[in-house]
Each structure stands twice: as C-alpha cells, then as structure tokens.
C-alpha cells in the first residue's frame, strides 16, 4: 500500500494529470476561438482523431515528434476545411456536418490503422521531458509541472498569447463580433466569412495538435477511437471558459487529474474498475457544468450561419 500523500505519489498524479490534460487544453483552446467567432464545432472529436492518426504516422516515419505534431495540426485544419466550406460558406447546419465529420474521421482512421498497423502495432519512444533548471527541483511541483515535454510550455505560452489576442487586439474584437453580432461586423466592413474561416482553421489546427499530443506523448501509439470523447469534453470546457483561454487550462487540468487519480489509486493497489476510470472525467465535467450552469454562456450568434441580407 502506497502512502497516498507522499510527494512521489502526488508528483505522479500531477504529472500524469498534465499529460492527460494537455490534449484537452489544445482542443478547448481551438474550440474557444471558433465559438467566439460563432462556429460550434461538434466535429472537434473528428479533428482530434485525424490529428492523432496523422501525427502518429508522421512521427513514426520521420522520427521527430515536433514534425508529427505539426502534421497532426495540419490534418486537423484540413478536416476543419469541410466545416469552412459547408457551414461557414454555404451556411449549412453546423451540428449535422459536425456529426458527419466525427463518423467519417473515426471510421477512416480505424480502417487505415487496421490496414497499416494491425499486424505490427508499432510504438513510439517516450518523449524526453524538459526539466526547467532550478524550478524542477521543487518538491511535487518540480517533478510534475516543471518536468514536462517542451510542447507543454509552448501550449501555455499559446494560451497566454490567445488570452491577450482575444481581449486586446483588433483581431480579437472582430472575432468576438463575428460570434455576437455578425451583422455589425459586416456593416463595419469586415468579412464575417473570412473572420470565421480563420478562426475555424485555427481551431482545426489546435484540435489536430491536441490529438497528436494524445497519440505521441500520451499513448505513444495510435489505436482506433483513441480520443474516446475527449473532443466532446473539450467543447464543454470551452463552453465553461466563455472565451477566457486560461479557463481552458483549468478545465484541461481538472479532466487530466480526475483521470490520473483513479489510475494512480489503481497502481497504489486500490481496486477501481477500469470502467470507473473511464467514467470519472465525464462525471467531473458534468458536475462542474451543473454547478456553473448559470455561468456558462455562449455567443449569441453561435451555430447560426451568417448569410448576408437574410434579415
């Protein structure tokens, strides 16, 4: 029986929580951008799993996880192009197209995985953590928060940048206007379609990177349906974050730790059914959603296509 409050145990829980939470952070950050611009991405799961698969294939071929993540991001952006054409350009229903994307992406990655890897099940080497000098010596936090793969710090920098850009730049203002009052934005001479397209492509890219991280750093391999609903949790996190990127960090961490605690307890010898481990993130996200239900608010034009001249 392991001492549950020992520094080693806490370090392990926090470290694993961060690993599990980062994909959510990427995806919910992307979803935040898209939602602020008025696009609801039900297909986020499809973008993540496409990113996970392409990142895995690329990293396996090239042997570099940065290029893998980049390829995953590009794959996610390519999938989001479908949303751009059908929903932003043609004004078709975002939910229907989103569900179609999830189905197609899950099916396609599962089929390709089966054809290419079902006999070999290749794995990737572990990604070396980047230990921040001095800080990584702090007990508990040092071995977890300050000893992560470099991309984690890049993600946090990206959050800081997004938080600044959404609130403080002209681009951020246009983004929010596209979600709240697209007609005003149009009247101000800025293209709603272009603003939303950029946001959507960034969302696809970030979701793809998140999926890639899940496969490369989190799992070290790709298996069909590896995202297991993470894309949908990311949508909830983005809903609760209400356009504030730092809240995505919090949400991702909540998800990650609720996943890692149960795993850690199992390691510590406490028998928890694996199904319970799978269920806990959804329960915790749902509980937070219920607790803060009055806080969650979405842009008023979310999900509505903008067609110039139609009222």
């Amino acid at each position: 029986m392991v001492d549950l409050l020992s520094p080693t145990f806490l370090t392990a829980v926090l470290a694993a929580g961060i690993v599990a939470g980062i994909p959510l952070l990427f995806a919910s950050l992307g979803e935040t951008l898209a939602e602020q611009a008025g696009v609801l991405n039900v297909g986020l799961e499809g973008m993540m799993i496409s990113g996970a698969f392409v990142a895995f294939v690329t990293a396996l071929a090239v042997g570099d996880y940065w290029i893998g993540l980049l390829a995953g991001g590009i794959a996610g952006a390519v999938v989001s192009l479908v949303m751009v054409v059908f929903c932003i350009r043609l004004g078709l229903d975002q939910i229907v197209v989103g569900i179609a994307l999830v189905l197609t992406a899950e099916g396609a990655t599962s089929v390709l995985h089966d054809i290419w890897y079902s006999r070999s099940y290749p794995r990737l080497p572990n990604v070396e953590p980047f230990r921040i000098p001095l800080l990584s010596e702090i007990p508990v936090l040092g071995g977890s928060l300050f000893s992560q793969p470099l991309v984690v710090y890049v993600a946090l920098a990206g959050v800081a940048f997004a938080a600044w850009a959404i609130r403080r730049t002209r681009w951020g203002l246009e983004l929010r206007a596209a979600g709240e009052r697209p007609d005003s934005l149009d009247a101000a001479g800025v293209s709603v379609v272009r603003t939303r397209t950029v946001a959507e492509l960034m969302c696809g890219f970030l979701a793809g990177v998140g999926g890639g991280y899940l496969a490369l750093v989190g799992a070290g391999t790709f298996v069909p349906f590896v995202t297991h609903g993470a894309g949908f949790i990311a949508i909830v996190i983005a809903m609760l974050a209400r356009g504030r990127p730092w809240w995505c960090v919090l949400g991702g961490l909540l998800f990650g730790i609720s996943l890692s605690i149960t795993t850690a307890l199992q390691v510590a010898g406490i028998a928890i059914p694996v199904d319970f481990v799978e269920m806990l993130p959804f329960i915790s996200v749902l509980v937070v959603l219920v607790l803060f239900v009055r806080e969650s608010r979405l842009p008023s034009a979310l999900g509505l296509p903008y067609l110039r001249g139609s009222r």
Binding site: L40, V42, V82, F86, R89, L90, L92, D93, I95, V96, V97, I99, A100, L101, V102, L103, T104, A105, E106, G107, A108, S110, V111, D114, I115, S118, V193, P224, H228, G229, F232, I233, I235, V236, M239, P273, D275, F276, E278, M279, F282, I283, V285, L286, L289, V290, V293, R294, S296, R297, L298, P299, S300, A301, L302, G303, L304
Partner: protein, 376 residues
C-alpha cells in the same frame, strides 16, 4: 445560453412530392456508394465484389435476409426515438448510453427472473422496465435543457459515456453470471421471444413495426406531435402558444429514451439472450444520418431501416471477406451524411429558383457570354 443549437437541421419537408423525396434519399445513397467504391479501389479491394458480397449476405441468402429483417427492429426503434426528439429540435445524441443501460438490465436481471414470470407478461414487464431505465437516463440533460437552456448535445453525450461505463461495471459486477468471462446469465431455454413460424425472425420485429406506426400517428395526428413540431420550428412561438416548454422538453426526451430502451429489450429478448461486457453496437450516431435521410418521418424511415439492416448484416460479411475492419461502414455512413446535406442544400436552392452554385463559387468560374440565353 441561447437556443443556438436548436433549429431543425436540414429542412426535411421541403422537397415536393413523393418522387422528389425519394430522389432526395436515393441521390446521396448512390453518391456514397460511388465514393466508397473509389475508396475501396484505392485500398486495393474490388468494389464490385464488395457490393456483391453485401447483397449476397444481406439479401440473397435466406438466413441473411432474415438477419437483415431482424436487425431492422433496433434500428427502427432507435430511429423512432431520435425522430421524436429531433422533431422538437432536441439533440438526443446519447442513445448509446441509454441503450446499453437498458441492455444491462434486460440481460442481467431479466435472465434471472424471466423463468419465474408468467410467459408473455414477463416480456412486457421487462420491456417496460427497459423503457423506464433508458427514459430516465435522459432526465439530467432534459432538466438542464429545460431549466437552464443548457446545450443538450454535450450533456447527452457526457451521459452516454457515463451510461456505457456504468453498464459495463454492472455486467462485470452485480449482474455477472457464473461464467469466467464477464457476461450476464443467459436466458433459459424457451424464455426468449418467439420466432415467427418457419423463420428466425422474432416477434419483437413485428412489435417494433407496430410501435413505429403508433409513434407516427402520435407525431402526426395528436396535439403532442404538433407541440413537438412547434417547439422544433420556433421555441419562442411555442411559449407564445401557451405550451409548457420545459415540461415538453422533458417529455420529448423521455419518450426518445424509452423507445431506445425498447430497442434494447427487443435485441436481448429476441436475439442475444445475454450480453457480454464492452459490447456496444453504437447505434447512437450511426442512425442519426438515417433519420434525416427519412426527413424525420417515421414511416419513410422504415425502408431506410431495412436498407441499414442489409448494409450492416451484408457489410459485416463483406468487410470480413475484404479483410477490412467493420468500422469501414462508418466511413460509408459519414459520407452518406455529407452527401445528404449537400443534396438537400442543392434541392432547396433549386426550389427557390436560385442558382445551384453559391455566388462566391460562381465568381471563381470563367465568366460566361453575356448574350447567352438570348435565343439568337
């Protein structure tokens, strides 16, 4: 939160006449078949052989045909459940969790008690229990939607994942039979639903057809159906009409879940007689495109459910023979979905007399001669 996510997805009742509607359903199916054929060819499989295998195993072999008809039952009931909620513009995407919780109960508890219950009555009791369980699993999303307008897409999905996990915990724990593998007890000999004379088609299929027709009558001939349609078309108008919208939301969700629970009861008591842990047919998302293909019309959904029955029974055989995972069917359904959206978009524009291609796309085409259409 606004009702941002709550409008009818693709207006299904727009196409004129029966021919137009059938065309709207067949067009996307054909396009999806063609695209899938190209994909198969790219993967180095013979598309013709693949489709021949589907037809062979799903229709031409007598046993296959009976399996396909049997497969219709859950698809019909899940589809009817989805239609009830979708018509009210409520996205019940949590069918899998609702279905599997009911499955766990009907298989785990049903297999133990069915022997002590009088025949026929036992089935009815278990089916009603399954409906109540699956219906009750919609309460959380329904109440959150009714009370706070919280987006039901994500809440039903969350509840679905939780429901699937709970079902597995139950099957591996309290409801486990005495086998080594994690599965429930099996229904005793002679306690399963009867087969129709001379076939392997159980009476649950007939019951499903009857229920589906009843659902159609409720949706088209009663005030409940009208209220659901009004809610779906315009929630604000529904409030102005004096409809108790929160209550209607809860009722619609419950009915939706109950029909999905009935699908579970029919599957367990009619086909399987037990359930193994981690089994999940994943009807939830797969049936979604099909009900839209039927224009959210329950009767129009019957042939489409038959089509899906053939596709899944024949598809199992064809994918196995072509050495592809059975998830290949997901690709077909996703494509079908995308083509359906595009087809309905095109037909809607044509119905309004607008050019089929949108303006931004036409601008990218070379300009045509201005005197065109002058007739000389």
């Amino acid at each position: 939160m606004s009702e941002a996510a709550g409008r009818t997805a693709v207006n299904p009742r727009r196409a004129d006449g029966l021919i137009g509607r059938i065309g709207l359903a067949l067009g996307p199916i054909l396009l999806a078949f063609l695209t899938t054929a190209v994909l198969l060819a790219i993967l180095g499989r013979d598309p013709v052989a693949f489709y021949r295998d589907i037809l062979l195993a799903g229709v031409l072999r007598p046993s296959g045909l009976q399996d396909s008809i049997t497969r219709m039952a859950p698809v019909l009931l899940v589809g009817a459940g989805l239609i009830v909620s979708f018509r009210a513009s409520l996205w019940n995407l949590g069918a899998d969790g609702q279905y599997l919780l009911a499955v766990a109960f009907v298989a785990g508890v049903g297999s133990r008690v069915i022997g002590d219950l009088p025949p026929v009555l036992g089935w009815v009791v278990l089916a009603v229990a399954a409906m109540l369980i699956a219906g009750a699993w919609t309460f959380v999303p329904a109440l959150l939607k009714a009370r706070y307008g919280l987006n039901e897409i994500v809440t039903t999905l969350m509840m679905s994942f939780i429901g699937i996990a709970i079902a597995n915990v139950l099957i591996k724990g309290p409801l486990k039979g005495d086998e080594m593998v994690p599965q429930t007890f099996v229904y005793p000999e002679g306690t399963m639903l009867w087969d129709l004379p001379g076939t392997t088609i159980h009476v649950g299929v007939v019951a499903a057809l009857v229920v589906v027709v009843l659902v159609h009558l409720v949706l088209t001939r009663t005030s409940l159906g009208t209220r659901l349609d009004v809610l779906g078309a315009n929630p604000r108008a529904a409030v102005h009409m004096g409809i108790d919208v929160p209550r209607l939301i809860v009722v619609a969700f419950f009915l939706s879940g109950a029909l999905i629970g009935l699908a579970a009861a029919s599957d367990i008591m009619g086909i399987f007689g037990y359930v193994r842990a981690d089994w999940d047919p994943g009807y939830g998302l797969k049936v979604v495109p099909l009900v839209f293909l039927a224009g959210l019309n329950v009767i129009a959904f019957i042939p489409i459910a038959a089509f899906f029955g053939v596709l899944s029974i024949g598809g199992d055989y064809a994918t196995r023979k072509a050495d592809l995972p059975s998830d290949f069917i997901l690709v077909f359904i996703g494509l079908l979905f995308l083509f359906m959206i595009v087809t309905q978009y095109v037909s809607a524009r044509r119905a309004r007399g607008e050019p089929v291609l949108p303006a931004w796309f036409r601008r990218t085409l070379p300009a045509r001669d201005a005197t065109e259409g002058d007739g000389g």
